[in-house]
Structure formats: C-alpha cells, structure tokens
Symmetry: C2
Subunit: 364 residues, 2 copies
C-alpha cells in the first residue's frame, strides 16, 4: 500500500445528498438504477450528480461506485410507467476519465437489468406465471419487452440460468423485440425493398437496408470478395471501407444526417461448414466488433424472414426450427424467433439484483 | 455489447441472504465493511459468503460488489469493541480470480476507512472536537488510532482534505501509531540494540532490526554499494539478495519461522541533494515496492529517533521539525512525529462513506 505525498488542499464544506440506488447485474454488465424523482430536476445537475456518484473523472473511480471499466460504469434513470404499463427510462454510459455522460446509446445488458428491477422494485406487478415488462428508452426510442418467470407471482431473487462464459447464474430474462415497435424511424424497409444496391466508386454492392432493433446495412459478403467467416486480419480493407458504405446507406435509408453510429454496418455470408444460420462480421464506428450488438442481431434475425434479403439468401435452415445462429468473430449468438418470418425476436439473458441502498453524493 | 452463446445450465433454487454492508473509501482503496453478527458464525461459511458477495472467482467480479482490482476487492469484518473502547476487526483481501480470502495482511487504507465507519455507524461516539478511534486487527495484532475532526460531536459526511494524486477530497483521518503498542512481538528492538550486523556469505551488513508497525530490517544502503536513491533497474541484485537477507534477519530477530512477509526489508540512505529526511527502497516479497507500506514507514520513523540506527545515521534533519520525509522510488511519504525521538508516528489520510445498504448474496 502506497503512501501519498504530503501536499493537501482544504476544500470547504458541502452538502451531501443521499440517493437511493440499486445495483443490478444484467447479462455481462453491472448497472446502477436510479429513480428520476431522486435526482435533481435540472438535467445538467442530474448529469453532474451521476458523474460524481460514480467517482468520475478518475481512471480508478475510487471515490464512487463506478467499477472503472465500460461494463461497470453504467446507469439507468427510471422516469416511470405510462398508461400502457411501459417503463420509461434513459440509459447513461458514465465516463471514467472524462466527466461526461453518453445518453444516446442503447445497452441490452442494462435493459435486461431494468426488466428484473421493475418487478423487484414494484414498478411492475408480478403476474402469476410470467411477467412481461415493456420498456422504452425515451432517448433512443428503443422499445423491447423483458419476460421473467414469476411462479405464484413471487419476485425472483435468484435464478438458475447460467450462460456460457458466466461463472454465476441469474434470474432468466428473455429480451423480446416485436415487429410492431422495432423500427426506430417507422418503416422496417425504408426503401420499400428487402434488397438494394449501394453504389460506391463504380461498384454495386447488394445490401439489405433494414430498420429493426436499429437501422442496419447488411452487405452480401461475396460482393466484397469475402465470406463473413474471416478473422480480424483479413478484414482490414472492409473496416477501411465501412464509413463510406455507412454514409451511402444512410442516404439511401433517408436517415437524419450526422449520425455516426447508424446504420449499423456488417457483412453476411453462409455459416461455417456443417452449421446452420449465418456468418456475420459487424463493424462498429471504425473498428471490427468482436461479436454483435443486441440491436444488430435483431436486424439480422428480422431480415432472415424476408425473401430476397442478403440474410435469407445465405442462411442455412435448421429443419423448420425458427431460431437463428449468428456465427461471429468471437463466438456464436443464438436468437429465438417466433416463426421463420418473425414478428418476435428474442434473446435469453439473465440478471440479478446485487445490492440496494443509498449512495452518499457530495455536492462539490 | 456482446451476445452470449446459447449454452445454458439450470441451477436449482437457493436461499438468498440480505447482508448489511457499507462501502467506504479509505486513502486510495475502497473497502466494504461488514458486522460479524451479520455473517454466518462458521468461519468457513463466512469466508465463502464474502467470496460470493464480491462475485469471485471471476476476473471481472461481474456478479458481485467487487471492483475487479486489488484495491477494490477488500473487506473488513467488525467484531465489536472491547472494554477499553478499541474496535476489534479483521481485514480480508478477497481473491478475484481465486475463490480465496487472505486474512493475514494489514491494509492501512482499510484501517483509515474503518476509523470513519466507526463514528458513522455509532460504534464509537463522536467527541466534541476530535474523536479518537483505537482499532485492533485481531489477526495480525496491528494496533493504531484514527483521529477524526468532529466539531460539535457531529458525524462528518464530507471533508475537505485532498491529497496529491486524488481527484476528490474526503474526511481528514489521521492514522496514528503509538510506541506502547506498535511492536507486534513485544520488543521494539528484539536484539536489544538499534544497530546490528547481518552476516551473509562472509559479508557483514549493518542493519537496524526494529519491530514498530511491523518487524523490519533496515539495511545501510552504503554497505551494499548503493545510496537508496537508485531506480528500479539499478536494484536488481538487491532484489535477488533480499530473501536471504530477510531470512537471516528473521533468525536474529527471533521471529516465528515460516513467515515470508516479515521482517520487511529495505535499504536506507541520505536523501536527494537539497532535501531533508531519508531515501529508502523497500522490497516486498521478491519485488521492489514502488513506494512503502504504512507499517514499514512506521518502522523507519521510529528508528529515526534512535541514536545509532541506520536511519538516524543517514537522515538530514529539518531544523528541529519532528517530521520525516521518506523519499521513495515513486514519490515521497510524509510522516508526522510527535518528537525527534517519537512516541507517536502519524499519517494524514482521508476517507469517505460512499454507500450503505444491503447486499443480496445467494447461497449457491
């Protein structure tokens, strides 16, 4: 243990807020969940409070509840439920070394955590068998439903679902996207077709331009001389090309200008020999994604049900079983579909309430 | 956000314990503090519960409250106070990838956190001006006193002491070691002398063998052809020699056999040109310490008051000011002494109560 050098400064006294909060694991993230009414009404003040709560800016977040990594520096602010019973929330990725909060992204792990929290906190009443928790990220517009087994309408504190790569199990949470609400901008196929062509430098690249989970441009790997089974080293030129493919697709999809994160860009090809489903490689911003985001997986799964899409052209079926394996750079994602042409796409996840109490937050 | 592959196992239902706990920053660590009465009475069960609470074994401690680093995977178990008002506790370093707890070490940061917690929790009543909190680690025998300003006997939630390298300030906590209780094995100078010689391979190395804070063997840097101002690259041969110097010193100090962590071994020399105090380089286990442990700093400070010790021989005074600067590989430690021949050695630290509540712990 290191001693510190002697210099110290005196800072004047200050108010300390006591803020109720609950720490919930969702998937492979930890998320601190707050109620909007427990935070300052002013948005800027609330943001400053969240930053201080996590101990940022500090590489180690030593004076707060942050876990000093991107998957443990996350918060959800719950605004309440609307007349239809949908939980309204905002997701906050808290900066670590930066005193900043990113509100414009989605986090499937935290959405999973929120599903369990909603029942645990009484925000949503548990049903007799399975409780449905519809949630809406009011910043991004993402809607999904969490389904959690609640036998005898009891709130689950513990569950037996353990997924690959996790040491401890948790409460089963099925995360479900529905056709009626999975488009961010209103139209599932903004061009009206499940297959389009993107023109760039005189080449024509076949692509499915879909708005499901998130807007996505899914390119046929073959048209780029690839198979979508490549390793990272083999995809360097694709990563370089991706920003221009994204920009061209955004124009064709009539997306608002200036968004750098949508559409999601990826290539799709036939699965590895002997496997079913599809192979995919996703590029987020200007880097290869080792796996796939939840919302991009929805896009691929939704497109798998559309005749002529690059996904349905390449996918190998599994004898009528309406589930889709997406083979990725690292691992495989399993997506459950309600039908071969799905109106519901769902993911098996788990969550656990780790801790609940109050956080003391100085108003420096 | 990555999806997980589909394999999942079902694990049977299990009890979930609700365990009260408080998260306190002390110095540059975060420490979860528990009461012994809230943990299982059986020592093995309590240890398993602590491991599960932190989410270990897991590199990321994602299903628990651990922070996935050595300075954020620490706990204190408070046993209570004795008739003299001393708080009895045990310090637990929780393994991260290993399902293991190390009880035999000291942590000055967590001792600092405990001082503040004792007042905050009502374990010790706040006094009118400054509250003294004597604490005893019942595993290691380490005793020290935390002094915390409590004007009007109010419990401080916030304080203005910010030390170098810390972004946020905290409640001032002075950590004080006292001559009457700073020896682990009863005798401050086990050989009866402030200066000894350690014989090894025909060489004689002058050393001060002292038991203050922790048993320590402080070698004269010059006898090893060094100055104690060297950088890491220049100290390779010392690091190699240190285990045998430690073993020889342990025999001379009549310490119990089989301890690999004591005596602490270091070299002492004159401070950098123009500075006061001493230079020191400490070797913990078989690696160079970038700074110095609190207990080793006590040993150097105590020895600075003894005529003939290697510390008092090399130290440059500061005009009668009874404080000692220890110049280290990385930074400088400032130690306050009550007199040139100290009966009290103290350190300025800070602490803050971050969160309090309950942790839900499955009994897998």
């Amino acid at each position: 243990m290191a001693l510190l050098s002697p210099a110290e400064t005196q800072v004047g006294p200050s108010a300390v807020l006591s803020v109720p909060a609950t720490l919930v694991r969702g998937g492979t993230s930890k998320c601190w969940i707050f109620r909007a009414e427990d935070l300052p009404a002013d948005a800027g003040e609330a943001e400053r409070l969240l930053i201080r709560t996590f101990g940022s800016p500090d590489l180690r977040q030593i004076d707060g509840v942050g876990g000093a990594s991107s998957t443990t520096s996350k918060a959800i602010v719950v605004d309440g439920t609307d007349a239809s019973g949908t939980v309204h929330y905002r997701f906050a990725q808290i900066g670590i070394e930066e005193a900043a909060v990113e509100w414009a992204s989605n986090c499937g792990n935290c959405a999973t955590a929120l599903g369990l929290y909603a029942i645990h906190s009484g925000l949503v009443q548990a049903s007799a068998e399975v409780t449905r928790v519809p949630i809406l990220n009011t910043v991004t517009g993402l809607r999904l439903v969490c389904e959690i087994p609640t036998p005898d309408a009891r709130v689950p504190l513990y569950g037996g679902r353990r997924l690959d790569g996790q040491h401890y199990p948790g409460v089963p949470v099925d995360v479900i996207f529905q056709k009626g609400s999975w488009s961010s901008y209103g139209q599932e196929y903004p061009t009206g077709s499940a297959i389009d062509e993107i023109e760039l430098d005189g080449h024509r690249y076949p692509a499915t331009l879909i708005d499901a989970g998130a807007p996505a441009a899914l390119f046929d790997a073959r048209s780029l001389g690839l198979t979508a089974n490549e390793d990272a080293a083999e995809l360097g030129s694709l990563v370089q090309l991706a920003p221009r493919l994204r920009a061209a697709a955004a124009r064709k999809m009539n997306l608002p200008a200036g968004l750098s994160s949508v559409p999601k860009v990826g290539i799709v090809g036939a699965p590895p020999h002997g496997s079913t489903g599809v192979a995919a490689r996703m590029i987020s911003m200007s880097a290869l994604h080792p796996a796939i985001g939840l919302t991009s997986a929805v896009a691929i799964a939704a497109a798998s049900g559309a005749a002529g899409s690059v996904v349905s052209q390449r996918a190998i079926g599994n004898g009528g079983d309406p589930s889709l394996m997406i083979h990725l750079l690292k691992g495989t994602a399993a997506v459950a579909l309600d039908a071969l042409a799905p109106s519901e796409v769902s993911f098996k996840r788990s969550a656990r309430v780790i801790s609940e109490g109050t956080i003391l937050v100085p108003r420096d």
